[in-house]
């Protein structure tokens, strides 16, 4: 078990975003979180990497227990993420964006870097090599030096995935990685997510709206509705669950 969420509740004032949600993520699995709009999926992800702090509950990551995370701590523990509405550094090139992903792995201090001493230079080159591998992996060689703001949406999503991968995370959180993509882009993205899981052995938690995608690539699925967990299991089990069908299609009153 790499991650377990125990009884997490999160409220904004009187609005309950999550109530007593618990689930577990096994090492090396692709775990999807689905649910209708406003079900609390993004909130859940934000709790996992410390953007939101839950009022109640615990998060256990790799045998360590946390009441709350903060984003910096989460990043240094090996949790990387992407955002629903892309949070890249738009003025910077693809390469620089990916290099920021390696920030935590670089050790040279301020003075060494300010003076551009040997160790700083070597370190830079070593990390540059790692980033080039990710660039090859994601097939974005041709846009290496392009400022991210000029890229089409689908490619930006891919770059954001690259930046998360650059940190060599243990756990990768993807918030709607295929949102707003056309069919071809979706297929590419699916392939990359599966390859990441396969080649790097990264555990992945992803939120997705496209049911086809979810059923295809995830090992297990958590279903949220109005901040509560209503189902948890393999894609087939979840698909046939009456509560899930009701949540998505509505119930006759």
């Amino acid at each position: 078990m790499i991650l377990s969420v125990e009884n997490v509740s999160l409220a904004f004032g009187g609005v309950k975003a999550l109530s007593e949600v618990s689930f577990e993520v096994k090492e090396h699995e692709i775990r999807a979180i689905i649910g209708p709009n406003g079900a609390g999926k993004s909130s859940m992800l934000n709790v996992l990497n410390g953007v939101y702090q839950p009022q109640q509950g615990k998060i256990r990551f790799k045998d360590e227990e946390f009441e709350r995370m903060d984003p910096h701590e989460a990043a240094s523990l090996g949790i990387a993420r992407t955002f629903q509405n892309i949070a890249l550094f738009k003025g910077m090139t693809v390469l620089d964006n990916l290099m920021t992903g390696r920030n935590l792995r670089m050790r040279c201090n301020f003075l060494q870097q300010a003076l551009w001493l040997g160790p700083a230079k070597r370190e830079e080159l070593q990390h540059r090599r790692a980033v080039e591998q990710i660039i090859d992996f994601l097939e974005i060689q041709h846009i290496r030096k392009t400022p991210v703001g000029r890229l089409p949406y689908g490619l930006q999503k891919r770059v954001e995935l690259g930046r998360a991968l650059a940190a060599e995370p243990k756990l990768l959180l993807l918030d709607e990685p295929m949102a707003g993509m056309n069919l071809e882009e979706k297929q590419d993205m699916c392939r990359f997510v599966l390859d990441v899981n396969d080649q790097y052995g990264t555990t992945i938690v992803l939120i997705e709206h496209d049911m086809g995608v979810v059923m295809d690539i995830s090992d297990r699925v958590v279903v949220l509705d109005y901040g509560r967990k209503i189902a948890d299991g393999t894609p087939e089990a979840v698909r046939n669950d009456q509560k899930v069908i009701d949540a998505y299609l509505g119930v006759a009153h």
Binding site: N49, A80, R81, T100, N103, Q113, W116, E123
Partner: protein, 301 residues
């Protein structure tokens, strides 16, 4: 060479070199704007504070280098304290709030520096006389101040170092990342506070250099805080986010304002040097609102 040409060269070069000194001040603004999206109104006060501290230490018979080192330390500490006391509590507030905070900071700094060191003007001498370079005067009959050249070299060096630092190192990249998107920077594990502390400390260092150079030229006095206002048109032309832009902007402002003063000033009774820079900046705004090197923002609709 005919006398008119020599005179023109003197005016132009004098203007360009004065422009470099504006750039030095503008640089401090650019640093902080790049890293935090904050227009630091207190930059002028920092320049004043640095120069006043240094000159006061010198007058207490301190050794030159010791005084320089101590002043640098004071500026770095000032930067760190500013981050801790002013900026950190205001994380994630809109830019206008941060801007207002820096206005407050400017007044606190101006008051504080005069409280500690008194308010009388001081002269400052770095050991490089503000006199024309001899061989240039003899050979070509062109008078160019050797101090101006010295100031220009310092500024050039500073810009080169900062540009490399921003472009090529991890911390430089982290600075740019923070400037671009706080949330995303946090998610990749860049500690916001750490970065701000660094950038304010570096801005303090730049303020010290600017303060020394300007202190020699104009004396260390309260009016030093106003050189910050001269940096504004430089920023409008160069763009708030560009270090090379600060230099080019400074050159343009310095040259045009001197040339305008000498050749067009007499037509309107003189004294246009003090406001001509703003006219140039306004014209620039009409043509290229993002500045020469600024990032063009295209919004998705």
């Amino acid at each position: 060479m005919p006398i008119e040409v020599i005179f023109f060269i003197e005016v132009l070069v004098g203007g360009l070199l004065a422009g470099v000194m504006y750039s030095l001040v503008a640089l401090g603004f650019v640093l902080i704007y790049k890293a935090s999206g904050v227009f630091n109104f207190a930059q002028g006060a920092m320049v004043f504070f640095a120069a006043l501290t240094f000159v006061s230490l010198l007058e207490m018979q301190w050794n030159f280098w010791l005084a320089l080192l101590v002043t640098l330390a004071v500026m770095v500490v000032l930067g760190l304290v500013t981050e801790r006391v002013v900026l950190r509590p205001l994380t994630n507030q809109p830019p206008i709030t941060l801007f207002m905070a820096t206005i407050g900071l400017a007044f606190v700094l101006e008051g504080l520096s005069q409280l500690i060191w008194g308010s009388q003007p001081h002269g400052l001498d770095l050991g490089i006389a503000d006199v024309p370079i001899e061989w240039l005067s003899q050979r070509w009959n062109v008078n160019i101040s050797q101090f101006d050249i010295f100031a220009a070299c310092i500024a050039g060096l500073l810009v080169a170092v900062l540009a490399v630092f921003f472009q090529k190192t991890r911390i430089g990249r982290a600075l740019r990342a923070v400037a671009d998107d706080h949330q995303a920077a946090l998610a990749v594990g860049i500690p916001l506070q750490h970065i701000w502390a660094i950038v304010w400390a570096v801005a303090g260092f730049v303020a010290l250099v600017a303060g020394l150079i300007w202190g020699v030229r104009n004396g260390v006095q309260f009016a030093l805080t106003f050189v910050a206002l001269k940096a504004l048109p430089v920023l409008l032309i160069g763009g708030f986010e560009s270090i090379p832009g600060a230099i080019i902007g400074g050159l343009i402002i310095g040259a045009t304002e001197k040339v305008a003063e000498v050749y067009f000033g007499p037509m309107v009774g003189g004294g246009i040097e003090s406001w001509f820079a703003y006219v140039v900046a306004l014209l620039f705004l009409l043509v290229r609102p993002e500045g020469l090197f600024g990032e063009k923002h295209i919004d998705r609709v």
